[in-house]
């Protein structure tokens, strides 16, 4: 799946987008965030506070208990501040 990051999540991971294949057992958004947090210091900083992360699957907002099976694009970002 494609992972995309915005705002300080993007700055901390050091990348705007990447392809990733999470291991088996990573079933939900919460699992994905926990797995990403273990991928290195930048990721650890980005995902240290999972509750601060908002997620969209294929450009639709989802909660952290949402399954990620079948997702083409998962976006991870801070709470939005537009308008």
């Amino acid at each position: 799946m494609k992972l995309v990051y915005f705002a300080w999540v993007r700055e901390r991971t050091g990348t705007a987008e990447e392809d990733a294949t999470p291991p088996e057992g990573v079933a939900t958004v919460a699992d994905l965030i926990a797995w990403l947090a273990g991928r290195g210091p930048g990721y650890e900083a980005a995902f240290a506070e999972p509750a601060a992360i908002r997620v969209a699957i294929d450009q639709v907002h989802v909660e952290h208990d949402e399954p990620i099976a079948g997702a083409r694009e998962v976006a991870l970002f801070p709470p939005m501040t537009g308008g």
Binding site: V4, F6, A7, W8, R10, A56, Q59, H61, A75, F77, P78, P79, M80, T81, G82, G83
Partner: protein, 153 residues
Amino acid sequence: MTITVRIQREDFDIAAEVARLSGESRDVGAIVTFSGLCRDEAGTLSALELEHYPGMAETEIRRIAEDAAARWPLAGLTAIHRHGRILPGENIVLVVAASSHREAAFEAASYLMDYLKTRAPFWKKEVMKDGTSGGWVSAKDADDRALDKWQDR
């Protein structure tokens, strides 16, 4: 009923957007616009950098606009959100709601702004006059609370 959503770098023209909706129907009696502008934060702010999620930004705002159109009798609803570098005093966002009746136009514009603030994938970063980054603007609890007033209605 026409919904128009645009995500763009350029500024927008309020008068042109109002004229477009007033021309939609001779039954338009009320047009409400909301313009959101970049404040200078007591003279300390040099600019805002507005990042967005291309594709989703437009899709999500259109979804909110469709919700508004289902709740109120509207003749037209327009939302334009800028991205990129925006200076103090410049426009960030425009919402225009046209209806036969003023209450529908006021409420639809207010609803669209409340949801846009908390659901549209945009993020603001501050650039300060002293050259430093003021960091990413934090989401406001007040903006989350603003949604509550639409829940029971």
